[in-house]
């Protein structure tokens, strides 16, 4: 038995390493869990990208659920996500609010003109101040907000057809069931 002790120790360490690899490949380690889930969305008042004289606020969006999608023309992953928003994103059953994050308005407009605009409304946060209240630390990020203005779901990184089908759509369905 005592001669087996080193081998046993090695097997234990190897198992620990294996567990670590398995555990960390299951989720994105860089992902910062949002403390804002099931809390009221932060108050914001932001100008519309297409018409800066008009503004959109948390209060003006109350009453029905919506999806805020944080994007920027400089963001490469947003380019990957964009075709998904153009197809699956348009069919999720709630308005899509584009949140143009720390972007040049002219470049954002050109980007949307070139790739297509999947959004019902686009708001622009040029300085990124309101984004700090939302806990945004990159783009793309998406927030599902219910009719009462509560953040119900957040996705960090590009929305994919799989994420929409397995996470976002069920979350939206749950909101719609609540409403009835």
């Amino acid at each position: 038995m005592s001669r087996l002790a080193p081998l046993l120790g090695f097997v234990l360490l190897a198992a620990l390493l294996g567990f670590g690899i398995w555990w960390n490949s299951g989720h994105d380690q860089r992902e910062v869990p949002s403390p804002l889930i099931d809390k009221a969305a932060p108050a914001f008042v932001l100008p519309r990208l297409d018409d800066p004289a008009q503004s959109v606020s948390r209060a003006s969006l109350l009453g029905k659920p919506y999806l805020i999608n944080v994007f920027a023309s400089w963001c490469i992953a947003c380019g990957e996500e964009h075709p998904v928003l153009m197809t699956d994103g348009k069919q999720i059953g709630v308005p899509l609010i584009g949140y143009d994050y720390k972007d040049d308005p002219a470049e954002a407009k050109a980007w949307l003109a070139e790739h297509g605009n999947p959004y019902d409304t686009v708001i622009a946060d040029r300085e990124g101040r309101s984004a700090i209240d939302f806990g945004v630390y990159g783009a793309p990020e998406s927030f599902l907000i219910d009719a009462q203005g509560v953040i119900r779901y957040k996705h960090i990184g590009p929305l994919t057809p799989e994420v929409i089908a397995s996470e976002l759509k069920p979350a939206i369905d749950a909101l719609q069931r609540e409403a009835h």
Binding site: V32, P35, R129, Y137
Partner: protein
């Protein structure tokens, strides 16, 4: 002449880069405030490049958050309040030192447990060896050499 112009341009560009990194124009009112700011931002994690703190990071968001921290300081917020402000938005992840709470007990006290377990193993081994060597002495065993490496 063209070459000289190019070299000068290159140098200017290079110095511009260095300059841009060196200044983070925050109007501290005195040295103490600056020290407090540096100390506080060194305890906060940059969310973008997660192995860097806010004080050192060149990420865009880190700069924004430094400005946010500075502004909160100007509004008379304490270090704790500023940390709380960031934790509310970015979770405990933003703190370099995780707070001691139920979910972090293992993290904080795990090393102590491992140390204690190691101490236990060492104590156990020593006692067994001591017992073995007393037994050997009593038996006046002649095969001493064979016991050398057996643990």
């Amino acid at each position: 002449m063209r070459l000289l112009a190019r070299v000068t341009l290159l140098l200017l560009l290079a110095s511009g880069v260095v300059f841009a990194q060196a200044i983070d124009p925050l109007p501290f009112k005195d040295h103490a405030e600056e020290v407090r700011f540096q100390k506080l931002t060194a305890q906060l994690r940059c969310l973008v490049c997660q192995n860097e703190n806010l004080a050192d990071s060149n990420a865009d968001l880190a700069r924004d958050l430094r400005h946010e921290v500075f502004e909160l300081m100007q509004h008379g917020q304490s270090d704790e309040q500023i940390k709380q402000y960031l934790v509310e938005r970015y979770s405990n992840f933003v703190l370099y030192d995780p707070p001691v709470q139920r979910s972090t007990w293992l993290l904080w006290f795990g090393p102590l447990l491992i140390l204690l377990a190691g101490a236990g193993v060492v104590a156990f081994t020593i006692r067994r060896r001591a017992a073995a060597s007393t037994a050997d002495a009593l038996q006046t065993d002649t095969r001493d050499t064979e016991h050398g490496d057996d643990w």
